[in-house]
Amino acid sequence: MRVGVVGAGAIATKAHIPALSSLEGVEVAGLADADLSKANALAKKYKIAKTYKDYKDLLREEIDIVIICAPSSLHARIAVDALVEGKHVLVEKPLAMTVSEADQIRDQARNTKLKVGVVFNYRYYPAVSMALAKIREGRVGHVTSIVGVSHTRPPMMGWAPSAWFYSEGGVIDDFGPHLFDLTTLIANSDPLRVTAVGRDMAGSMGCVNQAQVFTEFKNGISAMSDVSWMVGTRRVNSTIYGTGGDMFLDVICNFTRETHGEVTPMDDLRYLLGRSSSITKLARSGRLFFGALYYHRTLIQEFIASIERNQPPSPGLDDGVRVVQICQAARISAAEGRCVSIDDL
């Protein structure tokens, strides 16, 4: 498989290019970035043959897959162009900034019958698949609501201080998509309505850096998602409430905890031991320090496998569209102070 990467920023440098370089049978055939010096430096480090200033030149090359790591507002345009050129597309989250952009990608993908995947790498934590299997098995009864938290530091330290993070939706579009994807995955339904509150807790950052997003799904499940750059902690977790108990899913610590009935001291002890054991295992395997970036490799492998087997990729286009719907509705709701119906987008 010959892969071209668009964007030589932080996510390409830290996650995609190292993951691609470690995969057998995969060749990074070209790298495009508007800042050619940045692309050249990365190409030199990972022995990538060609670099391009204009991504359209890369799309004309003999490549099978294009991975889009460019700023979020460019995702849709690059994805549509890549599909027109006959390339399969793997897009960093979010798939697009608006539902109409996402629809353009969907239409193009339908016409060309090419695969489109979205980078929701948090899905690949073993705890997520374990929690999903338990929920589908009915261990918490019927799911009624989901309360999720996605707190991280602003993309400043360790990441390129790119201005686009702060101008395009803020935290709702930065870390929100991961949480919204987990929420839709658990709810197993399409979003119906979104109500959001968003604030600039720094005062003059000029974007939403703390938001609470309330999503109602078509199957009656509701979800409250708290996304923030300002709390100062680093956590991605979700508590799933059902008619038969609840389940706490700590994604970063790769840990789940079920509660049924009264919580006893033994339950607390088990929680502490289980969580410590999970963190120790992650630390020993090195995954704790890489966090979710570790799972880009698995995600790219799965995407390539879906192309080879001609199966729809997971997470795929529909997953990406659902998240775009929630993000756009949340931005509108936070700005206008009203409940936004997905059908009105």
Binding site: E137, G138, R139, V140, G141, H142, T243, G244, G245, E258, H260, G261, E262, T264, M266
Partner: protein
């Protein structure tokens, strides 16, 4: 002496009727036995939805009623349960959709706590006599219980469900001698046929109401409640001899622990029900201390 028959079959709620027919046939069938009505004792122990495995699933009752209408014709059918400390079944049958099922199969709801009773002398392990609802004396009693773990008695299947026929509402007062009370209830009001629904069972140590819903896809049936509960205990990986109410019921002659398992093999259906003995230990110690101090 012939062994009691216990049938264990795999089932889901969408094919429950087919599997119920198979299980009942394997276990020897349900006949009116000269009775002029049928009473189905369901389990409505708490306000918990059916998908938690805590109460009788409306789908299983629906299938049982359909089966009984097929086999017994127009015989009056009563669905019964009594009040409990934490439960008012008159509300639960409305809230969880049982009423429309009763209407569909022309069955009647009877709360045993509101029924006419008579005193039955049993000279049991704890009670000299038990108040027995008259409706049970006159009917073929079918015990439709759940496959559950129980924080006090380890398992709660047919024998424990039959204990719910005692019309007295504050049955929590009997928890100090629960095993004996269960046996006495079964001596006074023995079921004629037992069906244990384990499609969605309940595990963990917080049963019978707040445990872990477990999708076990099982259906157990038989005429002998001791045999059925012994088989259920094995399915849940307990030794029936160490489950007080099963051992005591056998000693009291309620049924036999010697049974023939039909349908599925035990190795294929027995599984972990997440009953932590470590969690259960403080409760056991407390009961032993209480018994010791009382003596």
């Amino acid at each position: 002496m012939s062994k009691s028959k216990v049938a264990v079959v795999r089932s889901e709620y969408y094919d429950f009727l087919k599997n119920l027919r198979e299980a009942v046939d394997l276990a020897g069938g349900i006949g009116p036995g000269g009775k002029r009505s049928v009473a189905i004792k369901v389990n409505l122990c708490d306000c918990r939805p059916p998908e938690t495995g805590a109460i009788t699933h409306p789908a299983s009752l629906d299938c049982l009623l359909e089966y009984l209408r097929e086999t017994l014709g127009d015989l009056p059918i009563y669905v019964v349960e009594s009040n409990a400390t934490m439960s008012r079944p008159n509300l639960l049958i409305e809230w969880f959709g049982f009423t429309r099922i009763l209407k569909r199969w022309n069955a009647e709801w009877h709360n045993l706590s509101e029924e006419r009773t008579h005193k039955k002398d049993i000279n049991g392990r704890r009670f000299r006599s038990v108040k027995v609802p008259v409706i049970l004396d006159e009917s073929l009693v079918i015990n439709l219980s759940k496959l559950k773990t129980h924080s006090l008695t380890k398992i709660s299947c047919s024998l424990k469900n039959q204990y719910g026929c005692i019309p007295f509402s504050r049955k929590i007062r009997f928890h100090k001698f629960l095993d004996d009370a269960i046996v006495d209830a079964n001596v006074a009001m023995p079921p004629d046929f037992c069906i244990v629904d384990g499609v969605i069972a309940m595990g963990g140590t917080q049963g019978p109401a707040l445990g872990v819903p477990l999708h076990k896809r099982l259906l157990v049936a038989g005429k002998d409640p001791v045999a059925v509960d012994s088989a259920c205990a094995r399915v849940m990986r307990f030794n029936p001899y160490f489950i007080g109410h099963i051992r005591k019921a056998w000693e009291a002659g309620v049924g036999s622990r010697n049974y023939e398992l039909l349908g599925q093999k035990l190795e294929t259906v027995s599984s972990d029900f997440e009953f932590s003995r470590l969690d259960h230990l403080p409760l056991r110690v407390a009961r032993i201390v209480r018994r010791w101090t009382r003596a």
